[in-house]
């Protein structure tokens, strides 16, 4: 028995399972934060998206990401399905069998795609979402991944993103933001005075279950990104920074929600926890425990204001995915440049601004953030736009009002429960216009 490989494989597969399990977490959080009439649709999206991502990553994504060390994109061994695999050409060099590496990378790719799902919820066509996810995981995500984790130009520059604040979360976040902009807000979300109409999530217990599963999954996401147990102290340290940032996010968002918004809202504290987790993802192996608490706490504050800001900008993101993943993905990556401390684990080569490393690392992080934004946001916009112009992107207003579950799936999430539709009252409370009139404007969004 190759003992070291056995241990590393066990660890990588366990971590892959945990990250896979985050699909359940995202599905539950997103469905819980949406309205019941769209629950089946959201669940279906989160469910099919992993299938589609797996296919995309298997067909081409892996090759683009790890196929040789061209600065911008993988060019070797692109197609792995069916053929013989020459492991030596790939740039991912963990001490585990090929398919273990593949699966581990696959679940990360799937996560990026899942992030989009929540932001575009409650009005996107099922098919359009599937197509976008396929393109994202077949092309966009792998290219960025290549830059940073596959030996591309950002890796060469020394850009550091340990477990994917940028690679996974902000890629998903930029793609989501582009989708939100092309789609326009849900019908009735903002009245003509720009006032936001609250559309509370229909099932907070389900959202909370999802949160705990995500939190658990992050213990695979971050510590697992070592892809090895050869240095147990590193893994343990990363586990600890991950958890500490999460609690930082919970505590600060709870306090802020309590003092600034009046009450400690559950939805806000859930987002606070996720924000902390996203923010520590880049730096989990580079910062010390106290820093992770600080990073998490700031993230928990950022997310609250980000949610309010996106609503003010009338960028309607039903579950707060952009606030959590985009804003804190960017913030977390910057934190590497601020809080990194060389030597805090064996994986941490450089120090950030606050620990005597000067502006060098911070500059590189900033450059990476901008490079990724400059690629992912416009290319996502383009894909969304092409989808809109061809098969269409948004369900009809009738369908949106009746719910996507009926329209897209012919199903009802809870056919036996009597429900009021609080959304209805929000829809038309701003005066005398009829639905027909607004239907036009809904079609005109963007």
């Amino acid at each position: 028995m190759n003992v070291e490989m056995a241990i590393d494989t066990l660890w990588v597969l366990l971590s892959a399972m945990l990250v896979f399990f985050m699909n359940l977490g995202f599905a539950s959080v997103e469905a819980g934060f949406a309205r019941s009439k769209n629950a089946v649709n959201i669940l279906s999206k989160n469910f099919v998206v992993f299938a589609v991502s797996s296919l995309g990553f298997l067909l081409l994504g892996w090759g683009l990401m790890f196929g040789g060390n061209h600065p911008f994109v993988g060019t070797q061994g692109l197609f792995i399905l069916g053929g013989n695999i020459d492991e030596s050409i790939y740039t991912l060099t963990a001490n585990v069998p090929f398919w273990a590496k593949f699966i581990f990378q696959l679940v990360f790719c799937g996560t990026a795609a899942t992030i989009v799902s929540g932001a575009v919820a409650e009005r996107i066509k099922y098919l359009s979402f599937i197509i976008f996810s396929f393109v994202l995981t077949l092309l966009i995500y792998p290219i960025v991944g290549h830059w940073i984790w596959g030996g591309g130009f950002l890796a060469s520059l020394g850009f550091q993103d340990f477990a994917g604040s940028t690679v996974v979360h902000s890629v998903g976040g930029w793609a989501a933001l582009a989708g939100v902009m092309v789609l326009g807000p849900r019908f009735g979300k903002y009245d003509h005075n720009g006032k936001t109409k609250p559309m509370p999530g229909h099932n907070m217990p389900m959202a909370t279950i999802g949160l705990f599963v995500l939190w658990l999954g992050w213990f695979g996401f971050n510590p697992g990104s070592t892809m090895s147990m050869s240095n147990p102290a590193d893994v343990s340290h990363i586990f600890m920074t991950t958890n500490t940032a999460a609690i930082g996010g919970i505590l600060s968002s709870t306090i802020l929600s309590w003092t600034y918004l009046g009450k400690p809202e559950l939805g806000m504290t859930i987002n606070g926890c996720l924000a902390g987790l996203v923010a520590i993802t880049a730096g989990c192996a580079y910062v010390d425990i106290l820093s992770s608490l600080v990073i998490g706490a700031i993230a928990g504050i950022l997310v609250v204001f980000a949610v309010l800001m996106f609503d003010r900008l009338q960028l309607d993101d039903p579950v707060g995915a952009t606030s959590v993943h985009l804003v804190n993905g960017v913030f977390g990556t910057l934190c590497v440049g601020l809080f990194a401390r060389a030597g805090v684990t064996s994986l941490s080569p450089a120090s950030g601004l606050l620990f005597g490393g000067g502006f060098s690392l911070l500059g590189r992080e900033l450059f990476g953030i901008l490079a990724v934004a400059a690629f992912v946001f416009p290319s996502s916009l383009l894909v969304w736009y092409l989808i809109k112009r061809t098969i269409g992107i948004r369900v009809s207003l009738e369908e949106e009002i009746a719910g996507l579950d009926l329209g897209e799936h012919g199903n009802s999430a809870y056919p036996e429960f009597l429900s009021r539709k609080p959304a209805y009252s929000a829809i038309v409370s701003d005066g005398a216009e009829s639905i027909r009139i607004r239907e036009v404007s809904a079609n005109e969004t963007y």
Binding site: P198, S257, G262, E265, G267, M268, D311
Partner: protein, 113 residues
Amino acid sequence: MKHIKAVIKPEKLEDVKVALKNVGCYGVMVKEIEGHGQQGGIVQQWRGEKFELDLLPKISIDVVVKDDEVDKIVQAIISNAKTGSDKGEGKIFVYNVESVIRIRTGEEGESAV
């Protein structure tokens, strides 16, 4: 025969139900409704946005009784539906019923009540 509809606070349902039994009124129909009268709404919040549910949960309890029982029953309801707060105690409405039929037997009129 008369139809008495009482709109009351949910927490008084049990008291009113017992009181109705005590004055010999066995058949009742209970519905959850939402209403607003003079009482204010409930404030909630979602992602920092506050909103008011101006419709409050109420119970509508309906009984159909013989003409000469109306007063007794209205009194029983009034004295059991009060909570002591100054708003939202509810109202009673009385309607005329033209006929009542018991499905099981087909019998009609007061004996079917």
